[in-house]
Subunit: 201 residues, 2 copies
Amino acid sequence: MAGYIPIPSFEELTDRIHSLPGVGRKTAERIAYHIVGMDDKEIDKLVGSIMTVHEKIHRCSVCGNYTDKEVCYICSDEGRDESVICVVEKPRDIISFERSGVLNCKYHVLHGLLSPSMRLKPSDLGIDSLVERVKNGSVKEVIMATDPSVAGEATAIYVSKLLKPLGVKVTRLGYGLSVGAELQYADEVTLSRSLDSRCEL
Amino acid sequence: MAGYIPIPSFEELTDRIHSLPGVGRKTAERIAYHIVGMDDKEIDKLVGSIMTVHEKIHRCSVCGNYTDKEVCYICSDEGRDESVICVVEKPRDIISFERSGVLNCKYHVLHGLLSPSMRLKPSDLGIDSLVERVKNGSVKEVIMATDPSVAGEATAIYVSKLLKPLGVKVTRLGYGLSVGAELQYADEVTLSRSLDSRCEL
């Protein structure tokens, strides 16, 4: 099958696009062709947009969510219930909750999960800063909203063991979620039900 | 639904990715998050790859296919039958033929189709250079391999009227193709059959 577009730079771009999440080989090729056909202005805008995001967006110093400020808009929002922290694996998961509108609390992003193979150690995740927040704040409940997978469960249990001695209630999402699914694809009703049926760890 | 990621640069990147072909809103968001999480080196590679392709790849001076040289690898290939030119709408369509292995001829890329609304004029397409190639070369047959759509048919007929007076045989792909489909998604067998049943215009 090789040899029909023997342009190394084109092949490389196709490979890079293919390595982005959710992009198949055929779509990657289509996008690469589209990029070749773009004019200078469009390329500048696309590249500029990537560079700007890369330079400006970083982790919130409080919760780990992505932000272009020192502290993200959720941590800066005084209208939220500070006594509840919802802990998620990745920033994208916050959107699912915010879209569902069922929570009006603060969040904490771990940026990963503890896995049985332990490729990520507890110190690699945002666990220390979570413990600090619970120690210093007026937190009454921590909702562990990690994926309902082995790694998600393991992480939830690990974190709960650290937090419970601090006198805080630790819950996890109820099994309205289908086991093995990824949180980011859950619909709003399922998310809402899973919040209702959350149980203490 | 607005307001859950109030970071303008992030929204802009998501919009730009969403505007690429074949990328839905959810996938665009996922890719944007992925880009935020990429390190300096990965970003440099992605951006560098886009810039390189944009700078190096342009249209072949003979046939209009994309190439990083003055003349593309197909036009430079002396092992091909120079008496047949297969005319396609876009460079991507050439890949479909090359993959099928049923043709060993030269190509010509129009970079668009004449539409009933005439948004593209004949002078906007690679028609003049096709006429020159037929006039100056040893071409015996031109296969019009435009999409089997209204615009594709209209373009094939328009081009055939220009070429026939030059004493060249002009054919179009046989209707092994399903009407209304896009050429780039045709499978190899269908493409091969449509070549067998090509008919004179």
